[in-house]
Symmetry: C2
Subunit: 236 residues, 2 copies
């Protein structure tokens, strides 16, 4: 979203502009940025549907309504187009910061706040496009190890680092008993996410079948198990 | 492994037999079965390396050292070859039955037995070829929903059904407190598996980096958290 306020410096009508970006909705840096977004949008759909190997630059150009040359001039080759897509998604996911991320170490009601956060966290991770991206990156992890790792670092690794810092602070305040904050962070993360996320990895159709209420149940029960093991009265 | 004792009914030397099945190691039903195994072995390697879309029947024939016609006569088309491979792996995984699967409901030391089982379960799931298959099926889940679901049913779903039956029996004996056996089964399964399995999904190189001792630690800590929530003294 950098430079979102910047006015387009070229105002001539765009020939062959994709339907998704009509002249009336111009934003960003004008035709070039719009074409870039159209290419990324088309690439996302095609990669999701046909996988990396099953998608060609020709397909992307046709779907985006631009010339093949335009695709190459923006992204050089297919692997860089794929990288750009994943990187854009990672950057996008970093904006979804929950207010409790900052507030948790000073929580006055740890159970309530962990529950509130867990529900939001699970709902975030269960977004259909993020699940599709997660599936695709897992499938491509051997061919694109840096991308899969970047995604993993921006997801579970980053989240768990935050959770570990919470749990350390809450342990110091005597509100939790957490001898190994990073282990506790990983237990928390996967207690909340594992059941529906793993189902969604193998059974794509299962994800939309979960109701908001069911996801809340998984989040709440994950927090319950976590607090049994790491609450102030835990035996560990 | 059916008919493993049956002698080959054709003993003439095989022209163009793959290096993996020299005449001295003949087993099963002779040249036809050997070729089938060679094709499946080649397909496994190629699918793992290049994905489903990146692998052709020509590649498989060349790698297996057989004609393309032989590949088609055994497997009809690429999607059926892929199905046969996954189905064979699922059937293979069903033989890895741990003695505690039967014995757990009558356990005299639930903590010890859960720990022993959890360590074996995690080691099973972390086998490199199973992790690769898991990654590939997740990546192909939208295109092969039946296969991905068959794999998921033969893995987590089947395991959790077994665990739920244990926990129900142990609850009746007063050794655990498990109001919802299927939820407890899923918590147990993912408490033991999630940390290293999720790392291995996104960071293939991470899997071999875990020592046996580290995997045991994850298994033991998963059991500890589980028992804090579901042990006989748990507050739930």
């Amino acid at each position: 979203m950098k430079h979102a306020e910047k006015r387009p410096d070229r105002s001539s009508p765009v020939v062959g502009a994709p339907a998704a970006a009509p002249p009336g909705r111009r934003r960003g840096r004008g035709p070039s940025l719009r074409k870039r977004q159209a290419i990324l949008g088309a690439a996302r759909e095609l990669f999701f549907q046909h996988g990396y190997e099953g998608t060609s630059m020709d397909d992307v150009a046709a779907r985006a309504g631009v010339s093949k040359q335009t695709v190459y001039s923006h992204f050089v080759d297919k692997s860089r187009l794929f990288s750009a897509l994943v990187t854009a998604d990672i950057a996008g996911s970093e904006t979804s910061a929950h207010p409790l991320i900052e507030a948790m170490p000073n929580s006055e009601d740890v159970e309530r706040d962990l529950r509130t956060f867990a529900r939001a966290h699970l709902e975030d991770v269960m977004q259909p496009d993020l699940l599709r991206m997660r599936r695709m990156l897992i499938g491509e992890a051997e061919r694109f190890p840096e991308l899969a790792k970047a995604w993993y670092d921006a997801g579970p690794v980053r989240s768990c680092a935050v959770f570990a810092s919470w749990f350390e602070a809450l342990d110091e305040r005597g509100l939790l008993r957490v001898p190994d904050p990073m282990l506790a962070a990983q237990h928390f993360n996967w207690l909340v996410l594992s059941i529906p996320v793993n189902a969604a990895m193998s059974v794509p159709d299962a994800a939309p079948l979960y109701t908001k209420r069911e996801l809340q149940y998984f989040a709440d029960e994950g927090v319950r198990v976590f607090l049994a093991a790491y609450g102030p009265d835990a035996g560990s």
